[in-house]
C-alpha cells in the first residue's frame, strides 16, 4: 500500500546506502554526535579488519525532535537509503521504526532502551542495545558481585532518577525486578527529579538525610554532574555510589568537569570489551580521529550497527529490503566490540546477548572492574571521602 507509482526503481545491487539518523542538534546533540562518530569510523575500521565494506553513508539530523526524525527517515529512504541506523532516543527511534517498517527498509537501532519498540511486532526493526529491563537485570546482578568483591554490603539505599522517558523506564524495571533479585538492601527513598533541573541541592539534602549507604542514580550527563557536585558541597559520602545502568558517570564531559571527584563512582552498563581485538582497532582509529574525546558505548554500539548492516549486505549480496532484513536476522558475529555473547537478534529483532559490565571511574576514566575475565583494574571501595582526595 501507499507506494507511489512513479517512484524510482531502486537499485538492487551495488553499494549499500546506510542512512544514519541521529539528534545532532537540539538538546541531545552531544550524544547524537557521539553516535555519529562511531558510524563515520566504521567503514574504514571494517576494511582494516578485513571486512569488505562497500558502503555510502547518508546523514540526517533529527534535531532532537520526533516529527523531524520521521520526516528525515522518509527523506533518507526516498533518497535511496537501504538501511537506517539510529537514533539514540526512544521516541525518535519509535517514529523512525514505523517509517522503516512501512517501506520495508531494515532499521537497526543502535541506542534506545524503551522496551515497547521491539514489542510492537515489527519485521524490519532490529535493536543492538539492551532494553531497560535487560539493563536493570544486568545492573542488579552485577551489584551483588560488587558487594561480594568489596565485602561491603549496604543495608539501605536511595534510588534517584531523572524523570524522563529513560529514567522512568528504568525506575519501572527496578520496581518490577528488584524483589526477584534478593538484594541485601532496602530502598528507603526514591527521588525523581525533572530532566530540566538546574539544581539538585534539595534532592541531595533529602537523600543525605536518609543516611543511606548506597546511592543508585539513574541520570543523564548534566544532572550526573550536578548531583556529584552537590554531594561534594553537602559532604555526603555514602559507601557506594553505583548506577544500575545509565549514562552520566562514564562520559568525557563528566571527567573534565569533576576531575578528582569523578573517581570511584560505579556504573553497570553495557560496554565495549577492552580485551577484544576489534575494540582495540576501533579505539586506535577513534583516538586518531577525535583527539581528546572519550571512547564510550555510544560509539561502540553505533559502530556495531554499521557492522551488522555491512555483513548482512555482504551475505545477502543485495540491497533489497527483504533480503537485507533476512540476512540481518541471521546475523551471528562472535567477535565484536561490545561485551557479551555473540551478536544475534531474536524473533522480535532484539539482541538478547548484550551483557553489562561494572565500570569504576579510576584515574578519571572508566575502567572495567567486573566481570573479572575482562577487568582492567581492581575495584576500590568504599568511596573515599571527598575532602581528603588529592
Amino acid at each position: 500500500a501507499g507506494t507511489a507509482p512513479f517512484n524510482i526503481v531502486k537499485a538492487q545491487t551495488g553499494k549499500l546506502k546506510i542512512g544514519s539518523i541521529h539528534p545532532r542538534s537540539g538538546f541531545q546533540a552531544q550524544l547524537g554526535i557521539a553516535c555519529q562518530r562511531g558510524i563515520d569510523l566504521a567503514p574504514k575500521v571494517l576494511q582494516q579488519i578485513g571486512i569488505k565494506a562497500d558502503v555510502e553513508i547518508m546523514n540526517a539530523d533529527t534535531e532532537s525532535n520526533v516529527d523531524v526524525a520521521r520526516a528525515r527517515a522518509e527523506k533518507l529512504i526516498n533518497d535511496g537509503a537501504n538501511v537506517l541506523i539510529g537514533a539514540f532516543d526512544s521516541g525518535q527511534s519509535a517514529a523512525i521504526a514505523q517509517v522503516a517498517e512501512q517501506k520495508g527498509v531494515p532499521y537497526i537501532i543502535n541506542v534506545a532502551a524503551a522496551p515497547q519498540i521491539t514489542e510492537q511486532g515489527y519485521k524490519f526493526v532490529f535493536r543492538n542495545f539492551p532494553t531497560a529491563p535487560m539493563l536493570v537485570g544486568d545492573g542488579l546482578n552485577l551489584m551483588k558481585g560488587v558487594f561480594e568483591k568489596s565485602g561491603i554490603t549496604p543495608k539501605t539505599a536511595v534510588f534517584m532518577h531523572v524523570n524522563d522517558t529513560f529514567g522512568q523506564a528504568m525506575a519501572g524495571a527496578i520496581k518490577a525486578m528488584a524483589p526477584r533479585f534478593n538484594l541485601p538492601f532496602q530502598i528507603v527513598e526514591t527521588i525523581s527529579y525533572d530532566p530540566q533541573a538546574k539544581d539538585l541541592s534539595v534532592e541531595i539534602a533529602k537523600a543525605k538525610a536518609t543516611g543511606a549507604e548506597l546511592l543508585m542514580p539513574v541520570t543523564r550527563l548534566n544532572d550526573a554532574i550536578l548531583m556529584v557536585r552537590e554531594m561534594v558541597k553537602q559532604r555526603w559520602e555514602p559507601k557506594i555510589v553505583m548506577s544500575p545502568g545509565a549514562p552520566g558517570f562514564y562520559e568525557g564531559q563528566f571527567y573534565k568537569t569533576l576531575g578528582k571527584f569523578s573517581n570511584y563512582l560505579l556504573t553497570n552498563v553495557p560496554w565495549y570489551n577492552p580485551r577484544s581485538g576489534m575494540t582495540q582497532k576501533l579505539l586506535d582509529e577513534f583516538t586518531k580521529s577525535y583527539k581528546g574525546e572519550l571512547f564510550e558505548l555510544n560509539v561502540g554500539f553505533s559502530f556495531e550497527a554499521v557492522m551488522v548492516a555491512v555483513m548482512a549486505h555482504n551475505a545477502a549480496k543485495s540491497t533489497a529490503g527483504a533480503a537485507l532484513a533476512d540476512a540481518i536476522r541471521k546475523t551471528n558475529i562472535t567477535d565484536h566490540v561490545m561485551a557479551g555473547g555473540p551478536l544475534q537478534f531474536d524473533a522480535k529483532g532484539q539482541n538478547v546477548n548484550i551483557k553489562s559490565v561494572t565500570l569504576q571511574n579510576l584515574d578519571q576514566r572508566p575502567k572495567v572492574v567486573l566481570p573479572l575475565d575482562i577487568a582492567e583494574d581492581n575495584l576500590t571501595l568504599p568511596l573515599p571521602s571527598w575532602q581528603k582526595r588529592a
Binding site: 527529579y193 534539595v202 539534602a205 548534566n222 561534594v232 559532604r235
Partner: protein, 289 residues
C-alpha cells in the same frame, strides 16, 4: 523531618532565588519600559555564560570578575539589538514581536551550537565546591556570593530608575511614545539604553550562573520561561518584585522538592504563577496599569 534539613533547604532556596531574581530582573526592566517581551532572554544569558567560560578557559579570569566586561558586552549587544531589530517593532502587535524575538533566539542558540558544540561547559574555580558551616547548616559558598551580588546590582538599578534623570525619562518613554517625542526625548536612544541595561543585567547573571550550573547552547528556553514566571509573580516592571518573585520561586521549589516529588517542583512555581495571575494579575509588587 529534621529541622536543620528544612532550614538548610530553605536557605539554599532563598539564595538560589535571589540569583533567579537577578536573572529575571533584566527581562522585567526591558518589558517595563519597551513593552516588549524578550523571548530571547534565556539565550542572551547563555551567550553571557559562554563569554564567562571563554574568559575563564582562555585567560583564567574568575567569572565574578569577567562579569563586568561581560555586562558591558551584553549592554552593547542589547543596545544594538534594540536599535537595529526591535525598534521598528515597537508599535507592532505582540505576536509579531514575539516571532521576531523567537527568531533571534533560534539564531542565537544555533550560532552557539556551531561555535561551541553541544557539550556542556562550565567554569571550575577553586572555591566552587566549598561550603560554609553556619551552626548546623552547611551553605554553599558560591550561592552566598552570587546572592549578595544580586542584591547589590538590584539596589543600584533601583536607584538609577527612581532617582536619575535618564531613569525617569526612560519611564516616561514607556508611558507614551508620542508624548516623549513631543517633549524632545530621544526615544530610540532611551529604549536602546533600556534594552542595553536589561541585557547587561542578564549578562552579569549569566556570568554568575556558570558557577552554579553547566552551560549548553540549549538551556536558554528553560531560563526564559523561569524568568517569565518570576517576573509575573513579582510584577512586570517592578524591580523589588523580580527579586521577591525569584525568592518565592526558589523557596517554593526547594520546599516542594523536600516535601513532595522533586520532579514535580516546577509545577509549584507554575501553580504560584497561576494563582498570582488570577488574583493579582499585576503581580505581587506590580502597579495596576
Amino acid at each position: 523531618m529534621p529541622a536543620d534539613l528544612i532550614l538548610t533547604v530553605a536557605v539554599q532556596g532563598i539564595l538560589t532565588g535571589l540569583v533567579y531574581g537577578l536573572m529575571a530582573l533584566g527581562l522585567s526592566v526591558i518589558f517595563g519600559v519597551v513593552r516588549v517581551v524578550n523571548f530571547a532572554h534565556g539565550e542572551m544569558m547563555t551567550i553571557a555564560s559562554y563569554a564567562a567560560i571563554v574568559a575563564f578557559s582562555a585567560w583564567n579570569i574568575d567569572p565574578l570578575i569577567s562579569m563586568i566586561p561581560i555586562a558591558v558586552l551584553l549592554f552593547a549587544l542589547g543596545y544594538a539589538m534594540q536599535s537595529v531589530l526591535i525598534n521598528p517593532f515597537i508599535n507592532r502587535p505582540e505576536h509579531s514581536q514575539f516571532i521576531l524575538l523567537a527568531a533571534v533566539a533560534i539564531i542565537m542558540v544555533n550560532g552557539l551550537l556551531m561555535i561551541f558544540g553541544p557539550d556542556a561547559r562550565n567554569v571550575l574555580v577553586d572555591y566552587a565546591l566549598d561550603s560554609i558551616e553556619v551552626g548546623p547548616l552547611l551553605i554553599d559558598k558560591v550561592r552566598v556570593i552570587t546572592a549578595v551580588l544580586a542584591l547589590v546590582i538590584t539596589s543600584g538599578l533601583f536607584a538609577f530608575f527612581k532617582l536619575s534623570r535618564t531613569g525617569k525619562a526612560i519611564r516616561a518613554c514607556a508611558d507614551n511614545h508620542l508624548g516623549a517625542l513631543v517633549i524632545g526625548l530621544n526615544i530610540k536612544h532611551l529604549y536602546a539604553l533600556t534594552f542595553g541595561i536589561g541585557s547587561a543585567i542578564v549578562g552579569a547573571a549569566g556570568a554568575m550562573m556558570t558557577l552554579l550550573i553547566d552551560t549548553t547552547p540549549n538551556i536558554g528556553p528553560v531560563f526564559t520561561l523561569q524568568a517569565f514566571v518570576i517576573v509575573i509573580i513579582g510584577g512586570l516592571g517592578s524591580m523589588p518584585g523580580a527579586l521577591l518573585g525569584g525568592v518565592l520561586i526558589g523557596l517554593s521549589e526547594a520546599m516542594s522538592g523536600l516535601f513532595f516529588a522533586p520532579s514535580a517542583k516546577t509545577m509549584f512555581g507554575v501553580a504560584i504563577l497561576i494563582l498570582v495571575l488570577l488574583f493579582r494579575p499585576q503581580g505581587l509588587l506590580g502597579r495596576k496599569a
